[in-house]
């Protein structure tokens, strides 16, 4: 099973390269993704598909809100709750 740290790194890499298109961006685990303007709500769905493929955890579309998924820490918390 993936460690928490691996998971966070994989998520950060995906967000930086695929969504923000800048692998050098110093993304923090507690940095607000949606309210911080790094990721939009459409990309959130893409992120959910990535999580499903990587970690086998499914999020319903209605769970994909800024309140629920705003930081990498929060997302990993939600993934772990479902594992």
């Amino acid at each position: 099973m993936e460690t928490k740290r691996d998971m966070k790194e994989q998520l950060a890499t995906f967000i930086k390269t695929e969504l923000m298109r800048n692998p050098d961006y110093p993304l923090q685990n507690d940095e607000p993704l949606i309210t911080g303007g790094l990721v939009d709500s459409f990309s959130l769905v893409e992120l959910a598909l990535f999580i499903e493929e990587q970690f086998g955890v499914h999020f319903d579309d209605v769970e994909l809100t800024a309140q629920n998924m705003n930081t990498i820490d929060q997302i990993v918390g939600n993934i772990e709750a479902k594992l």
Partner: protein
């Protein structure tokens, strides 16, 4: 000539028991339906409550309410009184509330609004933001009180005359807040009549919409037109739809929906985001027109959509395109139904080099341009060359329009109105050509960016970025980059900075993304921070967005998703 209100009453007299509106409510996971009789009665209650609070004919009423029942009936309640409702864009999760409410305050100060109708969620913040202004806030909740009007509504209506302003529509973006488009009852009714003809609107149609009501497509096609034309409307919230796009398809299935307007990105979004397991057993065969409007139309988006939903009964003949703008109330042109629309395959090289749309040879590299159809009745379309003459067939020029559904003017901005109209013609800033009587749109004269159907002015982004410490003042360019996979544009920002320290660069990029999202509610996809003198300037020393864009695409192509 009558008014929108007369039409609503005429319709009630004929069909009081037919369905007017079904609101799909996310909170309760259910729907609330209103017959025409219920709908008018409810709107009358709101009207009466507004009247008791001193609102009457000609009074501007600003609506700061989330999507839902209170918004719908506040709008119609104001219309019944002959007041002028104006819907303010919704506060989203991302917008900085302080900045948002400051915008509302500016609008109120400039506009002499007589009242602001506000939803529960916004009440406290708005009260604070508007402190010191003499404008009353009215709780939308209070208007919902079910007390039938004491006097007959006929004493209140018809309060408006055909040439009175029916409502104000904010044309777009944050700059758009300063541009309230005034539309008269006459203009709106002319538009509804002409556009109904263009799409063959029938009493047994059912309009399904998730579009926001502060935008022309949502307000006219997805709200005012069906309700005044007596066509049932199934309305859902844009926030709800973005989170859960399948609800649109379920609504079409359940209500046998026939008409739905969508910006181009929505075709890609629905095709890629909705899972088969979510729509098992749905039948979309009732859908007679999926009308693509409000951003550049991509043939590939249409093909992807048909392929994805044909197994559920969606027909290629339902594909359709409309070219529209708030300044014309809504539609300018519309393709013939049933479709699909004509696709013109033109030589990309000739388009760039000679600004001509020459049909491509069979094997040459072709650009697909989807037809926007023919001008609707009462509307004339010209393509004008820089010297002011009409462009010959297949020559690119600026699209200009003249019609009987045009704006009466920009609210309290006579100079802007005078600038925009030349001899009665409105110059759209869009580029295109005419071929075989149909209009094809190929680009824009202005550097406008359109993201998911929303107009964004690059100067608004640049102003925000310019204020960020570390960015070299005035050395910023914002522009759009096509994203074929999403079927819309991505926003790119290039800024010259004086530092090369990675931590500082990270911080500047963070601020650019955050501030733009909080003020404009859009996401910047690409941020590139460069050394001095990277941006391309024009001979007059101004930053050239288009030349900078070319350089960006050449230098950073490995990052750009085409």
């Amino acid at each position: 000539m009558s008014t929108l209100v007369d039409r609503l009453y005429e319709h009630r007299a004929r069909h009081p028991d037919s369905l007017a509106l079904a609101l799909v409510l996310v909170l309760h996971d259910r729907e609330e339906t209103f017959t025409v009789g219920d709908f008018v009665a409810r709107a009358e209650c709101y009207a009466n409550q507004l009247r008791v609070r001193g609102i009457g004919r000609g009074d501007l009423v600003i609506l700061v309410i989330g999507h839902g029942e209170a918004l719908v009936f506040s709008f119609w309640g104001a219309l019944l009184l002959g007041a002028v409702p104006s819907i303010f864009p919704f506060l989203s999760d991302r917008l900085d509330p302080e900045h948002y409410y400051r915008n509302v305050r500016q609008l109120v100060e400039r506009s002499e609004a007589r009242a602001i109708i506000v939803g529960d969620a916004q009440r406290e913040a708005l009260e604070h933001a508007l402190a010191g202004l003499p404008v009353p806030l009215i709780d939308a909740g209070e208007l919902a009180t079910i007390t039938p009007p004491t006097d007959s509504m006929s004493e209140i209506t018809p309060a408006a005359a055909p040439d009175d302003t029916a409502f104000l529509q904010h044309s777009s973006g944050s700059t758009g807040l300063q541009k309230g488009v005034m539309l008269s009852h006459r203009a709106v009714l002319n538009q509804i009549e002409a556009y109904s003809g263009a799409i063959g609107l029938r009493a047994d149609d059912v309009v399904v919409s998730w579009l926001p009501l502060y935008h022309d497509m949502g307000l006219i096609a997805g709200f005012v037109m069906p309700l005044t034309a007596g066509v049932p409307l199934v309305l859902m919230s844009p926030f709800h739809w973005v989170r859960d796009p399948q609800i649109l398809l379920h609504a079409i299935h359940r209500y046998r929906g026939t008409l739905c307007w969508l910006p181009n990105f929505a075709y890609n979004f629905l095709a890629t985001r909705v899972r088969d397991s979510q729509i098992e057993g749905l039948d979309l065969s009732s859908w007679r027109a999926a009308i693509n409007c409000s951003e550049p139309v991509a043939a590939a988006s249409h093909r992807q959509f048909v392929q994805r939903f044909a197994p559920y009964g969606f027909q290629e003949a339902a594909l359709s395109v409309c070219y529209a703008m708030a300044e014309n109330t809504f539609a300018v042109t519309q393709t013939r139904l049933p479709g699909p629309p004509r696709i013109d395959r033109i030589d990309a090289r000739m388009l760039r080099a000679a600004h001509r749309a020459v049909p491509a040879s069979q094997d040459g590299a072709a650009l697909e341009v989807v037809s926007c159809g023919q001008a609707i009745d009462g509307c004339e379309v010209r393509v004008v060359l820089p010297d002011g003459t009409d462009a010959p067939e297949r020559q690119i020029g600026e699209i200009a329009i003249r019609s009987n559904s045009m704006l009466s003017g920009y609210y309290r901005q006579p100079e802007l109105t005078a600038q925009s109209l030349r001899d009665g013609w409105y110059f759209t800033g869009d580029l295109g050509y005419l071929a075989g009587g149909e209009l094809f749109v190929t680009g824009r004269r202005k550097d406008l960016i359109i993201v998911g159907g929303k107009n964004i002015y690059p100067q608004d982004i640049e102003t925000i970025v310019n204020e960020i410490s570390g960015v070299h003042p005035g050395r910023v360019a914002a522009f759009g980059v096509a994203n074929e996979r999403l079927g819309t544009e991505d926003i790119a920002v290039v800024a010259e900075v004086e530092t090369s320290d990675p931590d500082r660069l990270g911080e500047i990029e963070r601020q650019i993304r955050t501030f733009v999202a909080q003020r404009l509610d859009v996401t910047v996809r690409y941020v590139r921070l460069t050394g001095l003198r990277w941006l391309v300037k024009t001979s007059s020393g101004k930053v050239s967005r288009s030349a900078t864009r070319e350089k960006f695409l050449a230098d950073f192509c490995q990052f750009v998703q085409q």
